[in-house]
């Protein structure tokens, strides 16, 4: 098991379209046998990166190495990789089997042999009965399978997939995800899979590379990327977290740990202050964003609490609450609010809660239907969370570790 062998290596790749920089200083390596997902919003440069590997874009700077061979200036047909395109790009003038056999035909393999091989690949994707069909007669899912078989048929060093499932409906997409994963594990062909769908990336990937604005923000296995995001963008893109923007109002030495500084942060959105200990050099006035994920939020109906003085008393209430929170050694933040919206999402229910204090930020909590509290719009609730489970991001978006 030589898992260290890399099949794709990008080194300092930069791709420009005139004024626009699509990919900037991107370096990544894809290991043999793994499924690597490039994940990011549309326009982040992930497709351009894939096209650079395939040879359809030539980088302005940097190197592309495929299986130990530098291919930066080689044409697509001189590279041993194969692409599954977003709209599949099946040749409409050829039958299914001719499509699948096309790569071998170009390689000069005889007709009988390449047809036999193509049949094997059609069987791999369970499309053996469609040999003589024209692509126009196939459904989206079937075209997808043929595109996959056609790419696999050239036995590529690496298979490149450019959002291959984005044109399929949700259910078919989920089935195909599992099939692609299954084929990948069976054939052990390394794959670079571009998607904007984080669920798809988590379902498929051995490792994920999150891209934004032409940059690779973070690379890691799905658990690491999800549990330990290095950047505010990664955190916001991977889930539906609640972001609270705050500002550093004071800092001082931590009594217990000299390397760290105790920083006081105020979150005007919920009218609360917290103290965190961090090694980053945050100074008063710096912006700090807290990400409170729905899964760490505890939501319960307020025990018989009626709304305290609706007007006027807020200032006092906030002060009271701060006093409540700060000295609390259990490190729990507790806030009250009113349910502003209940959204049924099939298997889960999402609650929007308007916080009473501060500027009245709105937080969202999602619960599966079976453990959903019975709440309706207007109900008073208490929201609390463990402050240690919150992620903090500094003024430049980088993670502030606490």
């Amino acid at each position: 098991m030589c898992g260290v062998r890399t099949v794709v290596e990008l080194d300092g790749v930069r791709v420009e379209y005139g004024e626009l920089v699509a990919v900037r200083d991107l370096s990544l390596s894809v290991r043999d046998g793994e499924l690597f997902c490039l994940l990011g919003p549309s326009g982040c440069g992930k497709t351009t990166t894939l096209r650079t590997i395939a040879g359809f874009e030539s980088p302005d700077t940097g190197q592309v190495v495929l299986d130990g061979r530098t291919v930066t200036s080689l044409a697509p047909y001189a590279r041993d990789c194969a692409t599954v395109f977003q709209d599949w790009a099946l040749f409409p003038n050829k039958t299914v089997i001719e499509n699948v056999a096309f790569g071998q035909k170009m390689a000069g393999v005889g007709k009988a042999k390449r047809r036999d091989q193509a049949r094997d690949h059609l069987d791999t994707v369970e499309m053996g009965d469609y040999e003589d069909t024209r692509p126009a007669e196939l459904s989206g899912g079937q075209k997808q399978r043929i595109a996959l078989a056609r790419a696999l048929a050239v036995d590529p060093d690496v298979l490149l997939l450019d959002e291959p499932l984005s044109n399929l409906d949700k259910r078919l997409r989920e089935t195909m995800q599992l099939e692609i994963k299954d084929i990948q594990e069976r054939l052990n062909t390394p794959m670079v899979y571009v998607t904007h769908d984080q669920e798809e990336a988590f379902t498929l990937a051995d490792r994920i590379g999150v891209m934004n604005n032409g940059r690779l923000m973070q690379v890691g296995d799905p658990e690491t990327v999800y549990d330990d995001p290095v950047d505010e963008f990664v955190e916001s893109f991977l889930g539906n977290s609640n972001f609270l923007s705050g500002r550093v109002v004071g800092s001082g030495a931590d009594r217990r740990d000299t390397a760290r500084r105790a920083v006081t942060v105020e979150f005007p959105g919920v009218g609360a202050q917290i103290q965190i200990a961090t090694e980053s050099g945050l100074t008063p006035g710096d912006d700090l964003t807290a990400s409170v994920r729905p899964e760490i939020l505890e939501l319960s109906p307020s025990p018989g609490e009626t709304p305290t003085s609706p007007d006027g008393g807020t200032q006092e209430g906030t002060a009271e609450r701060r006093a409540d929170v700060e000295p609390d050694t259990t490190n729990r933040m507790a806030l009250t609010g009113a349910v502003s919206d209940v959204v049924y999402r099939g298997s889960s229910i999402r609650y929007q809660v308007d916080i009473d204090t501060g500027e009245g930020a709105e937080l969202s909590v999602e619960r599966s239907v079976t453990r959903a509290p019975d709440l309706s719009t207007g109900d008073r609730v208490e929201l609390s969370w463990d402050t240690a489970a919150v992620y903090y991001f500094g003024p430049d978006g980088a993670r502030v570790r606490v």
Binding site: G55, P76, A89, F102, G103, M106, R150
Partner: protein, 294 residues
Amino acid sequence: MSEEPPTRADGAGETVESGPTPTTAGSRFGRVAVGTWLFRAGVGTVFAFLLAPIVIVAVTSFGDSMVLSLPPETFSTRWYESFLDSSRWQRATRNSLIAAVGTTVLATVAGTTAALGVRNLGGRAEGAVLGLAVLPLLVPGVVLGSSLLVFLGEFGLQQTYLAVIAAHSLWATPLAFSVVRASLSRFDPRLREAALDLGASPTRAFVEVVAPNIRSGLFAAALIAFVVSLQEFVMTLFVSGRDTRTIPVLAWNSLRNSLDPVVSVVSTLLVLVVVLAVVVGSLVVGLERLAADT
């Protein structure tokens, strides 16, 4: 107007016979109908004027006398026979076919490669190339013909087939270019990329994937080039010689001295060939479309 909504709401408008509505609708229809008929009559007149000479030529070609008369006193295929017997006309027919085939090949290949090349230019460069490409169509044939004669004369190429084909291609290529370009704009460039990705060289990608998917455009381009060459007269008059002159040039030569009824025959046959080409072309392209849509 006020009566209309209730009738529609009923869903059974035909049973409600309300007084004013049909009359207003009727007069409005009447005015529209008169306009339509006037328009049709106008267009019909224009077409009649355009087509009349062709019909007259076709009818006179079946005459029996040396004098062109309409209608001919007696009908015969006498002039068709003398056309087939004439070595001059046979030669001109052969020359016309050689020029047309040569032009078809040259113009289609040049037009197609140009259309493929222009695709990736984009912006200002593409505009400049497009402008240059159609320029020969805007220059009078006399100017092109005389300058071609001087230019080709420098290389001793005047009066050769090459000269005729070059002259015809000057007009046929921009047309072929435009047709192929329009056809390529409907072609999904991902298909070509997929072919390259699977190991096809650019040439093989064109042969295997691009050409079959734009074949109706290529066919139309070739057809247009063929027809342009067949009917071109002005430039050919300058650059062709005794041995290379085409049907239109010989027809003009024959008519200079006297009205030769064989010219009617030749004209009729030329029109017939062009009409056939267009019919076949539209059938093929039409079937292609039909096949592509289903």
